[in-house]
Amino acid sequence: MLHIDVDNVSLLYDTPAGRVSGVHEASFGMEESEFLCIVGPSGCGKSTLLNIIAGFLAPTSGEIRIGGKVVTGHGMDRGIVFQDFAQLFPWRTALENVAFGLEMKGVAKAAREEIALKQLQLVKLEKFARSYPHHLSGGMQQRVAIARALAYDPALLLMDEPFAALDAMTRDEMQRLLAEVWRETRKTVIYVTHNVAEAVYLADRVVVMTPHPGTVKTEVPIRLSRPRDPLSVEFLEHQKQLMRHLSEQAAKV
């Protein structure tokens, strides 16, 4: 049985101009501990698909199964990291933010703070445990968000362009850190991005999506050893291959 099964998922929007297809018959499966990137131009429905997997949107047809269980609404088997830094609760310290999910689960204060601190160590922010989010940089806030999404140990981590709003240098640093966090935790991850280099750096496999209607065009496995060197010939080769898939469909439009 596949760990994650996205099975023929479609979503139609009702707009004043009529029904618009957001996602059209998207399908892919995932093994446990796999890192999957969904790449595509804006408007291809990749974020919409992620929101369906997260349970924030209900698909018009098709279904998503996590460990064989059909997804109906959001649940604690999934952790989510958004693009917007504002996702953290400003009235809670970094530690209290990370502990939120455990608090909802009813874990006692001492125990949840211990786990939260371990999660902050994982993203190298244990020194800032008592800081409020507005005292942290954008990159640090996203690291807290990653720790927060991992703290209650979900089966699946969903990430919606978490580093897209960061400057290029911080983004590279974040990607290295995320690759390290993933190596240590071995979470199953679905990571949405429009950045091809980012996908090649992080993913075991890349799902390429195309717009009008948003559907899965192809899948590209990335079989490079980790940690990856973005300047190696193989790396650039994979990047080119993905670019070709994306430009082919751009030429068609």
Binding site: A54, H74, G75, F82, Q87, F89, F100, Y132, H134, R148
Partner: protein
């Protein structure tokens, strides 16, 4: 620039403004163009204030006024805060109360004083109800906007982490709306402070800062009137800065949810 240095500088600037205003007043009062009984000099006002402080009457007047404000403000928070939150969360409640709020809100609270005197007589009940009327709307409107302005991303993130119903309300919506709710407290206090003095002038008997001003008019005691006005200004300013200022510093300013106000 340290916060303390900035604070000291703004204090100095405020002191300069007040000193110049006081000097201008004093010059006018001593110019001889106006009767001393109508425009008493500052030492005369200070003397009246001192006398009233010493014989305890000023304290008693201020206590009555503060009691009415606190009682009325407490009622306003007890009604306006939950109602505003419910209006922000439940469309049916919003649809029912919004027309009522829109009609009642523009009526100045003092316009109700004669009506309330007819219904409740002179004294505490009328003044407290006027305060309640004045304070309810700023509390309610701010709570309502606050709840509606809670970032949907917080709701999504909290929902994904298993928050629902009660926990979503207490751990996300209320803290998320807190900048507005605290502004609501602040505005409600200021409105009550303005309303109570007006209400006391007409509807109080024997005690209260508003009453003492109105009563002093009968005897041409301009010094007592001005002394009471100074006390009204000082208490209002003190509350606004100390109580609501510290509440803000302990919460929304600490969380970076509002920018520091200048001055």
């Amino acid at each position: 620039m340290s916060a303390f240095g900035a604070g000291a500088r703004s204090f100095r600037r405020a002191a300069v403004t007040l000193l110049i205003a006081a000097a201008l007043y004093e010059a006018t009062a001593r110019s001889g163009y106006f009767a001393a009984a109508l425009l008493p000099t500052l030492p005369a006002v200070a003397h009246a204030l001192w006398a009233m402080l010493m014989d305890g009457t000023m304290l008693r007047h201020a206590s009555y006024t503060l009691y009415r404000v606190m009682f009325g403000l407490g009622l306003a928070v007890a009604v306006g805060l939950p109602l505003g939150i419910l209006m922000g969360r439940i469309p049916a409640v919003e649809h029912f109360f919004l027309p009522l709020v829109s009609v009642l809100m523009p009526i100045p609270s003092l316009a109700w004083v004669p009506v309330f005197i007819l219904w409740f007589g002179l004294g505490n009940v009328t003044t407290i109800l006027i305060v309640f009327y004045a304070a309810t709307f700023p509390m309610l409107l701010n709570a309502w906007s606050g709840v509606r302005s809670v970032n949907p991303l917080w709701m999504r993130a909290a929902g994904a982490m298993g928050a629902n119903g009660q926990s979503l309300f207490w751990k996300v919506i209320i803290p998320g709306a807190s900048p507005f709710i605290i502004t609501g407290f602040r505005q409600a206090f200021l409105r009550s402070w303005i309303a109570v003095v007006g209400a006391e002038m007409i509807a109080a008997s024997a005690w209260g800062l508003g009453w003492v001003i109105f009563d002093a008019k009968e005897f041409l005691n301009a010094d007592i009137m001005l002394a009471s006005l100074a006390v009204i200004g000082c208490i209002g300013f003190g509350f606004e800065r100390l109580v609501f200022g510290s509440l803000e510093r302990a919460t929304v300013l600490r969380w970076g949810m509002v920018r520091t106000a200048k001055g």
